[in-house]
Every structure is written in C-alpha cells, then in structure tokens.
Symmetry: C2
Subunit: 337 residues, 2 copies
DNA sequence: TTGTACGCGTTATCAA
DNA sequence: TTGATAACGCGTACAA
C-alpha cells in the first residue's frame, strides 16, 4: 500500500502539503495541487482511515447493535435500511455489530463498537436491562441512544413506542366492534415488548368490564411456527373466540395458517390483528389488520439526536411514538358470528 | 479516555509490559500481571482498536457490500445473519457497507471498506460489471470474494449458483407434469440474475419442443407489487396458462394474490413456482413451490475461502452451487384443467 | 522478566 | 505557501 509519504516524494513536496491538498484545509498553490493529484493518480494512493481516525480522534461512524434474533423479518430490514440511509445522509458510516442471543454477547457487541471508537452508538437491546443501559449511557464518553426501551434516568437518550397503549387501543377497537371473546398470543415474555403488549390486552378487557379468561391466552415466541402452535393449543383447549390478537405479524400469519388448516374455524370468521406490519403481509393475508410501529420515524429521531449531541447539543425532553392501527375488512366488519 | 500509558504508570511498569499482559505474548511475572489487571480495572481502560490495528496492520474485520435494493426480504436477512455468524466464529467482525442503488455508490462502498483496511471484502454486486470486479480483485491487496456472479478471469474468487440451470430445471419439471402453457414473470432485466432465469425458461421450452409465446412473459421488478401487476397484464392480454413461474418468491406471492383477487383464475388452478424461498412463504401460501438458493452454504464457502487466503492459501478450483427445487402439492399434482 | 525506542500513516501546530 | 516535527495509542525488536 502506497502511503502519503510516497505520494509526497513523487510530487516533490512534504507529507503536510499532501495532507492539506486532501483535506482542503490551508493554502496550497494550484500548481502544487496539480502535481499532488497527479502523484496520487499515478501511485494509486488511498488514505488509511485507521491512521486518519487515530489522528483526528473522529471516525465518522455510528455503531448499531441488534440481536440476530431480530434479523429475520422485514422489521429488521426496515430498521437497518433506514439507519444506513440516514447515517450516510449525515456524511457518516453505519457499523453493525451482532448482539447475538445473550446478555454477554450484547455487552461485547457494544464494547466492540466503543473500542472501535465509533462517534456514537445506537442500541436496540434485547437482553440488557434498562438499568444497565442507563449505566452505560452515563459511563461512556460517546453519545448513546437506546431504541425501543424507556430509560429510567436518561430518558432523553431513548426512543420508544408505547407498546402497552398500542395494544390496549387495538383490543379496545375489537371490543367496540362487538367482539367479546378475544384470544391473545403473547411474544416471548422475557422481552419487555412481549410483557407490555400482554399487559395492554389485559387492561383493555378490564377497562371495558370484560372478564379475563386465561384460557384465551397462549404463549408464542415471535416466529410464525409458534403462532401456529399457539392456535393449536387454543383450539385443543376448546377455546372459542371471534377475534385474535397476536403480539406480532409473524405469529399472526402462522396463526392464520393454523386456523385455516385446522378447519375448526375458518380464518374469515376470526378477526386477526398483528404488530409491526411485515410489509409483505398485506399481499398475502389481506384480512390481517396490524399495528404499524413507526420504525422509520423512530430511527430518524434517534440519529438526529445523536448528531445533535455530537455537535455538543443536549436534549432535555423526551419523545414517545405510538403505533398506528391499520384495520382491514375483517375487523371493520365486526364479529361474523 | 484512559490510555495504555496511564495504566502503565498506575501499575508502575512500562507500556510494553501492559501490552504484553493484554496480548499474552512474552513473559510477564504473575505478580506484575496482577498489578496491571488491577490498574486496568481501576482506570476503566479500554484498548483503542484504531491504534492497535494501525500498528499490527490487521483489523480482524471482513467487509460486506450489498445494495440496499436487496435489504427488504428474508433472502438478505439470511445472507447477513450467516455472514455475521460465520465471521465471528472465525474471530472476526463483519462490517456492512451499503451499496445503495447505483454503480458509483457501489464502488464507493467497496472503497470505503478497503480504506478502512478490512482484512478481506465480500461483494454481492448489483450494478458493477463482472469485468470491473475482475479488475478490482486483481488490483487489491486484500483478498476479495464476489457472491452471485461468475468472474471471468478470477473465477475462484467468486461463488455463484447457476440461475439459468435452476430455472430450466423448474420449468422442465412443470412440463413433465403435463403443463404446456407456462407463464413467466421476469425480474429486473438489468440484473444478470433476471436475465439468466428468463433464459433458463426459454431454453426449457425449446428443449421440450414447446413453442415460445411472448404473450406468456411479463416483466417484473422483484417486488410483490410488480408480481401482481405482471399477472394483471397477462390476464388483460387474454393469456391462458396452467402454471406460472415467477423469478422470485416476492413476485410469486404478489402474483398469487392477484390471481386470487382477479377471480379469473383461482390460484389452485395454477401451479406457481418462485425463487429464493422467502422463509415465511410456506406459512401463508402452502401451494407455492420454490427454488431454494443455498445462501447459507454459499456464504460459508465464501468466508472459508477468504480466511484461507488470509492465511496465504490460494484456490485453483472453483465451485458452483445449484438451487434446490422444493415442490408443493399444486405442482406435484400437475395441471388442474 | 522488564524497559527503551522506534514504527504504523495520518493530522495539526508551529516556524520559515 | 510550504516544511519540520510532534502528537494519536498501540505493537514489537532489541537490549538490559
């Protein structure tokens, strides 16, 4: 690899001058500029970003940590796509680190990004507690933002959407359409998101004076297969319901398939609501209603805040997002029996 | 940020000793080891990877370039997930750079990874020509592997699956099941993959002595909406067919929805085959057959080769993968009318 | 077993 | 307008 020094020699100038030409800082005569550029061309010189970043103490990169349990599915794609786009819009590069599937590995991933001296870090946590992340935010010199969690102490360093309220709203809509027997498929209950959605379901029932039947609740694990399994379990229990809320779209899709396959209940007879809006779902299951989580908007806010902080700014206020309920025919019509 | 020097002072030793303790190279007495570790604890020291990488001339990272037009969908997720997993298995970190949506931006992304001094780079090209990539492979000091293209000169630096043969095979299967009128939805025809699949379709027909009807071919753009639009166009033309091959699963899904909505042809009456196997598809459209591209295996081979090259190895031979046709009932049964 | 001193490829601060 | 030269934080011969 040819270095700046070799370029300098070839052009008959010093390293410093080459550096000036490249960075645009400082005065350089047009004549020497030309000579330098020519030398660069001839030698195929490429700047070493490691050296540059070490010297400037800036890497122009944002780090992003996500668990790979989220990798499958369109939700992650949307997250990643927008994060990359917005980061580059701000003239920076996104570096992705895999949080894998444990708290330790999530910690390691964060640490890696910090050790790489990313200018700032975005964490979409899955295993780490809110308290630990509050600690990380305070300890680190780099600005840090946490997605999908509400930090206790540094709430302005987090951007989240109110899963409980969104779910409560969705269930309320079903109740108002006349549904009384509403089944619920949970997500993994070691995830706050899963717990919050379940809690929203329960609160909506209470709020409308509808008794809670544990028999109408089945546990899922976010993926389609577990949604299908949950429906099997509900049916095996002899549960009857006119509506079904699944804690995400993937499970909702698995659930609908199982409803169809089992033949006990035709899908059209059950109103189904999911979450996160797998973008492809409407093409296949037009009857699936969904609560759309505004990932794009949330990422945008997150990155804006980070950039602002990098420029020395400080946020006092926090911002909550809420899911938007997109209803399809089967819900709008109310119960079919 | 506390540096190694500060740790050294606190422990009453020299930088070199701290470095030895951290890397495990060279002899250090247990006693001083303990002192150093304690000093590290107390000061919250973290090594600066930029400095380390600059000094060692190794970054322990693999770069991956992918266009964001691939981000949506499960194919990309599987690619990324496995790439990250395997890279970390080899004790390295994956760095993702967005190739965005033009040849220039794809070049920039590759250049960025090289400038960051990634030890090796994987390119999943969308816009760059095979010739240009052959050039890049030869010019660069870092090992480079190209996914989903067959390089002309450096074929051992590429891993691809034979799209033409896979598609030909799929269409042949349909023909052998008794289908004679087989519609085809192309991918974007500025992509080699799209062209190859179309060519496989045509060749299969020729091979079986079935006349080619241009009226049975409609253009798509890889996404579900374009698959639906293609079906609309076919129907508007008055085309009749008992089977339909779409150049990927997303379009196949859109196509099936359109077949259903239009009511002209019930989906069950048409055997549909897609490509790439959107993992979620079987949960929703059990009747969708698909050619599974072995992404996981291909990534595995790619990374193995890179690691081997980093250790000074050189590959003489090349390896082709081929898609595996997964047939569902509607195809196995043959034409329904 | 430990310390000294130099190199990695840049940027940045001075003089000149 | 240009050139020495000192950082940046770490690895590593070489010497002790």
């Amino acid at each position: 690899m040819t270095t700046m020094l070799e370029v300098a020699k070839r052009a008959g100038v010093s390293k410093a001058t080459v550096s000036r030409v490249l960075s645009g800082n400082g005065y350089v005569s047009q004549e020497t500029k030309d000579r330098v550029f020519q030398a660069i061309e001839e030698s195929g010189y490429r700047p070493n970003l490691l050296a540059r970043n070490l010297a400037t103490k800036r890497t122009q990169t944002l780090g992003l940590v996500v668990t790979n349990t989220l990798y499958h599915g369109v939700y992650f794609s949307e997250l990643l796509f927008n994060a990359a786009r917005m980061t580059e819009e701000k003239g920076r590069q996104l570096i992705l680190a895999d949080g894998k599937h444990s708290a330790d590995e999530e910690r390691e991933a964060i640490q890696y990004l910090l050790d790489m001296r990313c200018d700032a870090v975005i964490i979409y946590p899955r295993f780490l507690s809110v308290d630990e992340m509050d600690e990380i935010v305070e300890k680190c010199e780099q600005p840090i933002m946490v997605l999908n969690r509400r930090l206790r102490k540094n709430s302005s360093h987090s951007v989240w959407s109110d899963h409980k309220a969104s779910c409560q709203e969705a269930v309320s809509q079903l109740i108002e359409k006349g549904h009384r027997e509403i089944a619920f498929i949970t997500g993994s209950l070691d995830s706050p998101t899963g717990v919050e959605r379940l809690s929203g379901y329960k609160d909506a029932l209470v709020q409308h004076g509808i008794p809670l039947h544990e028999g109408l609740i089945a546990q899922g694990k976010w993926n389609p297969a577990s949604g299908a399994a949950a429906v099997s379990e509900l049916l095996a229990r002899g549960a009857t319901f006119t509506a079904l809320v699944a804690s995400n779209d993937d499970m909702a899709i698995g659930a609908m398939k199982q409803l169809h396959d089992s033949g006990v209940v035709t899908p059209d007879a059950v109103s189904v609501i999911g979450f996160d809006d797998v973008a492809i779902a409407p093409y296949i299951v037009p009857s699936l209603s969904s609560v759309r989580i505004p990932v794009t908007e949330m990422i945008k806010e997150t990155i804006s805040r980070l950039i602002f902080m990098l420029d020395g700014g400080e946020f006092k206020y926090q911002q909550t997002f809420s899911g938007e309920l997109v209803l399809r025919d089967s819900v709008i019509d109310g119960p079919h029996r």
